[in-house]
C-alpha cells in the first residue's frame, strides 16, 4: 500500500471545459416558431387559400365564421381567412422594409454622431431629440398627407423615415462607449486603421443592441401601418393588409360582426407579442447582478 502521507507536491491544474450546454430553455421558442410559421404561410398563401381574397362575394357579405368561410367575411363579402394570410404578407413586408430603412439611416447617422467631434455630435443629437419629441404618428400623418395617396412602398418609406431616431441614439451611445473603451484605444495604439477598428471592434459589439431595436422597430412599423390604414390615412381598402382589413371594423361594430374586428386583431396582437418576446430576449441582460434588497 502506498503511503498516504507521501509528499507528492503540486499537480498542474487542468482547465476543465465549461459545462455550459446549449439549451433552448429560456429562449423564445414559441415566439420564433410562430413568426416563422406566419412568414411561411403568408409567403405561400396561394397554396392553401380557399378563396380569392380580393373577390367580393356580395351574397355572403358579413357572414359569421362557418364551414365555408373559416373566419367569416367582411362587409364586402371578402373571405377573412384568405385575407389574413394575403394581407399579412403586406403588413409584414412593410414592417421589415421600414425597419431596413430605419436601421440603415440609424446606423449611418448614429455612427457619424458617435465618431464626430463633440460639437457635431451635439447638433446631430439635438436634431434627433427634436424629431423624437414630435408624436411619431402625427409626423407620419403629416408626411402621408403631403405625399398623397399611399401605397405599400410609400408607407414603408415614410415609416422608415420616421422610425430611426431612437435607434440612432442607441447606435451613437454604443459607438461612443466602444470608441472610448480600452480595447479600441489598445487597437489604436497598435496602429489599427479606421476601417479595421470599425469592422473588428465596433461592429461586432453593437450588433446585439441593434438587433433588439430592430425587432422592436418591426413591431412599431406594423402597428403604425395598421393604425394609419385604420384611420384611413394609410393603405386604401383595395390593398389588403391587416390595417386596411380592420378599417372596415368601425362599420361592423354597428352590425355586430365581431369577427371582423376580433380575428384579424388577434393575429395582429399575437404577431406583435411574439416580436416583443424575441426583442426582449435579444436585449442584453442588464439585471444579471443579484439584488441587494
Amino acid at each position: 500500500m502506498e503511503n498516504k502521507f507521501e509528499l507528492v507536491g503540486k499537480r498542474p491544474t487542468v482547465l476543465t471545459e465549461s459545462k455550459k450546454r446549449r439549451t433552448l430553455r429560456g429562449k423564445p421558442v414559441i415566439s420564433v416558431s410562430f413568426i416563422l410559421v406566419l412568414i411561411l404561410a403568408c409567403s405561400f398563401c396561394e397554396l392553401f387559400m380557399p378563396k380569392d381574397p380580393t373577390y367580393m362575394d356580395l351574397y355572403n357579405a358579413d357572414a359569421a365564421p362557418n364551414g365555408e368561410f373559416f373566419f367569416g367575411t367582411d362587409a364586402m363579402g371578402r373571405d377573412i381567412f384568405s385575407m389574413i394570410w394575403y394581407g399579412g404578407r403586406i403588413s409584414l413586408f412593410i414592417g421589415f422594409f421600414a425597419t431596413v430603412i430605419s436601421v440603415f439611416i440609424a446606423v449611418i447617422f448614429g455612427s457619424i454622431s458617435g465618431l464626430a467631434p463633440k460639437w457635431v455630435d451635439s447638433i446631430l443629437m439635438r436634431f434627433t431629440e427634436l424629431l423624437l419629441s414630435i408624436p411619431s404618428l402625427l409626423l407620419v400623418i403629416l408626411l402621408q398627407a403631403i405625399m398623397g395617396k399611399a401605397n405599400v412602398l410609400s408607407i414603408s418609406i415614410i415609416l422608415g423615415l420616421t422610425g430611426w431616431m431612437s435607434m440612432a441614439k442607441v447606435v451613437r451611445s454604443e459607438v461612443r462607449q466602444i470608441r472610448e473603451s480600452e480595447y479600441v484605444i489598445a487597437a489604436r495604439c497598435m496602429g489599427a486603421g479606421f476601417w479595421r477598428i470599425v469592422w473588428k471592434h465596433l461592429a461586432p459589439n453593437f450588433v446585439s443592441s441593434i438587433m433588439f431595436m430592430a425587432v422592436m422597430n418591426v413591431r412599431s412599423a406594423i402597428v403604425a401601418e395598421s393604425t394609419l390604414s385604420f384611420i384611413g390615412m394609410g393603405l386604401p381598402l383595395e390593398i389588403i393588409s391587416w390595417g386596411s382589413l380592420l378599417s372596415l371594423a368601425e362599420r361592423s361594430i354597428l352590425s355586430g360582426s365581431w369577427w371582423i374586428i376580433v380575428i384579424p386583431g388577434v393575429f395582429l396582437v399575437l404577431t406583435l407579442l411574439c416580436l416583443t418576446n424575441i426583442g426582449n430576449h435579444l436585449r442584453k441582460a442588464v439585471n444579471r447582478k443579484e439584488s441587494n434588497l
Binding site: 502506498e2 503511503n3 498516504k4 502521507f5 507521501e6 509528499l7 507528492v8 507536491g9 503540486k10 499537480r11 498542474p12 491544474t13 476543465t16 465549461s18 459545462k19 455550459k20 443579484e290 439584488s291 441587494n292
Partner: protein, 337 residues
Amino acid sequence: MSDILKIENLSVNFRSEDGESEVVRGVSFSLKSGETLAIVGESGSGKSVLAKSIMKLLPHNAYIKEGEILLNDIDITSYTERDMQKLRGSVLSMIFQDPMTSLNPTISIGKQIAEAVRLHSPKMKRADVKSRVIELMELVGIENAEERYNLYPHNFSGGMRQRSALAIAIAQNPAILFADEPTTSLDVTTQLQILDLLRDIQKKLGMAVVFITHDLGVVARIADRVAVMYSGKIVEIGTAEEIFYDPKHPYTWGLMKSLPSFAEKGKELYTISGFPPSPGDLPKGDAFAPRNEYALRIDYEEMPPMFKVSDTHYAATWLLDSRAPKVLPPVRRDMNV
C-alpha cells in the same frame, strides 16, 4: 472575555443556471468582544460572503446550507428579515469597499447619518438627533461637521466618504462591525488614516471588528487575530503573531513569500503557481492541493481537518498530522526591513 459571536460549521451555497457553487464551506470561528479579527483571502475565497451571511445580507440566489450563527449564545441562523432588522445597526453593523457607491448620492451626508441615529430611537427630538449626528461626524474625524451636514456624497473625497459610512455604521454603538475591504479603493496615505481611525473608535466604543481584506500589510496593522481563507474554507486561524511569525499552512507560506516586501531584489519572486479553483468546480480533497508544493497524497483524496497548533492557533493541513513528513516552513522572518 466572552465570545460574542460564534460561527459553527457555516456553509453558504449559491444557486445559478450552471448549478450550485459552494462559496463558504464549513467555516467555524469565534469572536471576542472588543477584538479585531482579520479575514484574509484572495478574491473569490468567500471572505466577503462570509460576512454578509452573518449579517444576512446575502443576495437571493445564496442561502445558508448548514451551520449555526450564535450571537451572544443566541442562535440567529433562522432569524427572519424582520428580526435581523432589529439587530442590524444596533448589534451588527457593516461598512463596504467602495465609499462612492455605498452612500446614497441624492441624500445629504447629515441626513443619511441622522437616519441611522433615528432608526432605533425614533422618539428622539430633532435637535438631539442633529447634535448626535454632529458628534458622530466629529468622532470619525470630519472637521467642520456643522457646515458639512448638508453636503452630498459627491462633494466629499473618498476618505471622507468612508468616514461618513463609518459614522453611519457606528451610530447605534454596535457590538460588532464588519468592515468589508474598507480601504482597498483608497490611496495609501488615506488608507492609513482610516485604519488608525477605526482602531481609535474601536477602543472608544469597545466594539469587535471583523476586518476583511486581501492586504497582509493592513492585517498586520489592525488585527489581533487572523483567519486565512482559501476557496471558502478557513485554512488557518490564529493570533496575528502566530500567523505572521509561525504560519503552518502552505497557503499562508505562499502568501507571505510572494509579497514583494519580503523579497530580495533581483531574485525571482516566489509565486503560488496556477489559479484558484472556481467555487462551482472544486477538486476532490484539499482545494489548495493542486497548487501546493507540499501536497501529500492524502491531500488529493481527503479534506484535511483543523489541526490544533496551540489554544488559539489552528490550521487545516495534513502536514500537521503526526504521520506526515516534517517540512521546514520556507518563510524566513528575518528577511524583511
